[in-house]
Symmetry: C2
Subunit: 205 residues, 2 copies
Amino acid sequence: MARKQKTGSTNANETRENLLKLAARTFGTQGYSATTMRAIAEQAGIEAASIYYHFSSKEELVDEVMEQGAGRIVQELNGHIEALGPDATAEQRFRAAVLGQMTGLVKHGDFALAHGRLLGQLPEAVRERQVKRRERHQKLWNGLLEGLRTEGRLRGDVDIHLARIFILGSINSIQSWFNPRKGALEKIADQLCDMFFAGVSPPAS
Amino acid sequence: MARKQKTGSTNANETRENLLKLAARTFGTQGYSATTMRAIAEQAGIEAASIYYHFSSKEELVDEVMEQGAGRIVQELNGHIEALGPDATAEQRFRAAVLGQMTGLVKHGDFALAHGRLLGQLPEAVRERQVKRRERHQKLWNGLLEGLRTEGRLRGDVDIHLARIFILGSINSIQSWFNPRKGALEKIADQLCDMFFAGVSPPAS
DNA sequence: GTCTATAATGGGATAGAC
DNA sequence: GTCTATCCCATTATAGAC
């Protein structure tokens, strides 16, 4: 059940979460520098100065947007993999990861978009942390691909590095074109995996 | 042979070209809003005000960076295709396009990077024109893929739209990782196409 | 062709009232 | 928790000297 806030007056956490959402959307569409504290405040119906009660700076604000963006995507991805149980094949895990990451990108659109687009525009301190996060994420995918290799689902001459770039580039591009009316995510993920596998798997016979 | 300038004093065109290059690099790495006229001027060793002798505004400057970025990539791509002669197969043309676009991205790094990263951050007027340019570019790729289909190099159930997204996402991601010391572009393009074709082509038998 | 000086605007952030 | 008022500085762009 929902726990009561300790603070009186209008709920701080709620405002904070709202600001984060609005910041994510604005950062993602306008970029870091072009997004002003005033613009975020206006959308929330408060003055820019009031943001500083919830966040100490613009930098802290964007940092948390990035954290949440990365966190939500990974969580979705992991959730899809874990739902398979421990006996899943490498291919099942890989396919779950593809659908999981796509789902994360679409479900947490604003945060995911900000996360994907802002890396190159961030203040140094924030950027460094996010670069490390991204490296961990790539390792996760490397692991999935190595699993495929172990189970004989990757041709010997396929470069894992390149395959990862190939599949991640495709998955992530979904942000710029996916429209739920044009087809279910599951179907798109399947098609993408089919294309991927028919390319990397050894000839059937 | 090189033609003499009509103007006296230090060559205006030269400075203009230099400013464009520096602008491309800075826009591409920092983003549109974060790039200041001062920063560009400083790199060129002049004052910010002097830029306005060569460009009427920041908007015009970024517009030309975008134009050149798009133009150089397409030119490289077309050059590779045309070098094949008129009797080339659809697959040869496709493979030439992949290598051509990759070459363009690497060869004109600063302009290509700016072109790829700035779309979402541009002033409306500039953005609209570039969105149209991108659509033309996508149609070019659709044409290449339809050629493949006509010549029986695409499985019937492969969605051309998705295949285009798949291959373009992969090609374009080269900007963020390619290192000439790690392997020739030709080899990477080949590997990418091999992965692509072994997926989309009908089973050999 | 580039400079200095400056206008006009808007940015992030803080102080202190309520 | 949010406000108003304000500081201080950076920004794009222009005017006019050289």
